[in-house]
Symmetry: C2
Subunit: 418 residues, 2 copies
């Protein structure tokens, strides 16, 4: 079974918006074992959309469209899908009432054009939109299937999960599962080298990936059922986790900050952050997570030597002797903010994020990240060799969070195992 | 003249990467007055790519491809473009030498497969790759044009700017220029209402857009030359700027933080930030800008009442009486951090970012943003009505930066005009 994705919208062709719908759908379909042959984008144009849909249906079993389901005259996906599937639009009274209720609940008057959205294909199934007014639909006819989803991602994604997946299941030839074993502190090539035997496997396959400051091994298996596929994947996941030990910060978790906040919560611990080059980015990432206030009270962005000294207590003579970007200063920042914030763990981050170097001879991409608890302070030296400010600032935060994670695990979890 | 964009790469169809090349090229082509009819993505598959290119050339005058120019066997764009344009590949000795030098300069050995990249179309023009080894090319034949660019954006974009633009100029029917007048503190519908007469214009066109916490009017004009187009746009840009006065924070500048940092630099001023709900996000945005250390020394993330009191000096009784999310607390945060950081302007941000409410009865999306200088402190109350944590945190920062911008302008720039 093969599938094509057709995204409808002149605004995509004008480069006004990035087509994130295509990447989302491709990923989800790959997980279901449905091959995507093409992604296409076409404007809100009658003849071009008709031509596109006709050709797509000739080549593929399933066509998934996004966009063009709104109330205005240039929203033509509904009409064109019916045309190519040889069916017609009929008024759905329930949907009409729902749209009317949606507007009156917001104290707004429904315009005539909104009624357009209550027309649905006669031979189709309506897909409910729980996050907007435009319903989607599916038409299955003559061994072909069209599924039409709305354009806005926050309407499209839930509709896909809640309704389209159920329809697509019968086209799925196999079940696929993927697990990502995520690592910090090891490079992609070394990781791949140490996993060389696993990379040759066929079911599951194991593939290395790298992204900013971290890398991962993705284990993907297929089976007749999801359980069947899981059974094949899990021993390899375990093997990878055991082989890479302390480098592994998560299996499938979104990111290191999520992992760290969970770990701090689990042990009832608090963290305080002192940032120089990251300038609040580390605190931002911790507080991205709702409920971070349980584990985080105090962050200091000390972007000058004077603030490092006066607020965090870094010694003036060390700032002069070693410079702001030094192990000594990182350690004192970590210790200072731990005391000031009355936290269990203090973090100090200082570095040269770039793109330009500072007045010293230190290279862009050099950073020191220190982590302090009541017993000791440790410091990592990082040299990314890159002049990319965003990258350097992101990596510093990730390495700091990972260092705290390792320190907590050594103290609270490895002890327990003895 | 119409154009299609064909992106080649199985990894895009698998949803492993977002296709940012398509949005970049679409935007650039629109600016040149070249209409993009379709964007397509196809995998690294011989027959499918050939079919795609044949169909694209039938429909369109220009086809721009990205990807598939690498050294491995699944990089097939070179071969397929030659096939559909009825030409052949020939070895280019200069490129071969360049690739050899590239590898030896990095101390690496060139593999045999890299020689593939030195083959270029016999009837084509080579586009130099200054950021990688794979050259691009253009073939113009029988009133059709194919331009092949590499897949990695950091190679593709410079090659497009440096070489492809020159070739495409002759297909451009008109020159387009666009200017964005960006505003904070006014809603999109009110903005559109007040610009109703301008929205009816044809050259330039004026279109309203909204994005997180701000909105803009885009003025787009066309002319035979760029200067000609500019001449048509500028009076309308001036009219919009004059009409919306203090709401306008920039014309074409990237964002409010860039505008604020420039304004602070211009007047030799420093800002200090006290953040609760934004949790470092505002400081992160200021320090995203290289050179921010000229205007920013001190940021405090006070994520608990205790830190608000002990570090920033917010009165305990006010925290108890009014709660952390209140005008009183925002004002004291702004004043406290101004004093602590010895800055000209102090900012205090406190709110309920969501998605969940706190223990009080205050609604998610409620925030107070205060700005303090040596003479006065002002406070804005924000109610976004949204539960989206990212959105609320972003908007709070933008509104705070804009409030500082307005306060500086009132004090340092409007006085001068008297």
């Amino acid at each position: 079974m093969v599938c094509e994705i057709v995204c409808v919208g002149t605004e995509i062709l004008l480069g006004d918006i990035v087509n994130t719908n295509a990447v989302y759908l491709s990923k989800k379909l790959a997980e279901m074992g449905i091959s995507v042959l093409r992604q296409s984008v076409v404007g809100d144009n009658n003849s071009r959309l008709t031509e596109m849909l006709m050709q797509a249906l000739e080549r593929s079993d399933i066509v998934i469209t996004t966009g063009g389901l709104g109330p205005t005259a240039d929203d033509i996906t509904r009409d064109k899908c019916c045309e190519v599937m040889q069916t017609e639009l009929v008024l759905d009274e329930d949907i009409k009432n729902e749209i009317e209720n949606y507007f009156s609940s917001k104290g707004l008057k429904m315009s005539e054009s909104n009624i357009r959205q209550a027309y649905v294909p006669k031979d189709g199934v309506v897909l409910k939109n729980n996050n907007g007014t435009a319903p989607g639909f599916a038409i299955e006819k003559n061994s072909k299937c069209i599924i039409a989803l709305p354009g806005p991602p926050r309407e499209m994604k839930p509709m896909f999960e809640e309704s389209a997946v159920e329809i697509l299941k019968k086209y799925s030839t196999a079940c696929f599962v993927s697990h990502n074993v995520k690592m910090i502190g090891i490079g992609e090539s070394l990781m791949a080298e140490n996993a060389a035997d696993l990379l040759e496997g066929e079911n599951p396959t194991v593939a290395p990936y790298a992204k900013d400051g971290e890398c991962l091994l993705r284990i993907t298996s297929s089976g007749e059922t999801k359980e069947d596929a899981e059974k094949k994947a899990l021993p390899v996941v375990d093997e990878v986790v055991n082989r890479f030990k302390e480098f592994v910060y998560a299996v499938d978790e979104e990111n290191i900050e999520t992992v760290l906040v969970k770990l701090l919560k689990k042990h009832g611990l608090k963290i305080a952050l002192a940032e120089s080059c990251t300038g609040g980015y580390a605190a931002k990432r911790i507080t991205d997570i709702s409920g971070a206030s349980e584990v985080f009270d105090c962050g200091i962005v000390s972007y000058s030597n004077e603030i490092k000294n006066r607020v965090l207590g870094v010694r003036k003579e060390d700032l002069e002797t070693y410079g702001a970007v030094s192990e000594e200063v990182a350690r004192q920042m970590a210790e200072g903010v731990r005391t000031l914030g009355k936290a269990d763990y203090g973090v100090g981050i200082t570095g040269i994020a770039g793109p330009l170097s500072d007045a010293t001879e230190k290279p862009v991409g050099l950073s020191f990240v220190a982590v302090s608890d009541e017993f000791s302070t440790e410091c990592i030296k990082i040299m990314t060799g890159r002049k990319d400010r965003d990258y350097n600032r992101y990596v510093n935060g990730s390495r700091a969070f990972d260092a705290v994670r390792r320190k907590i695990i050594r103290r609270y979890e490895e002890q327990e195992e003895l």
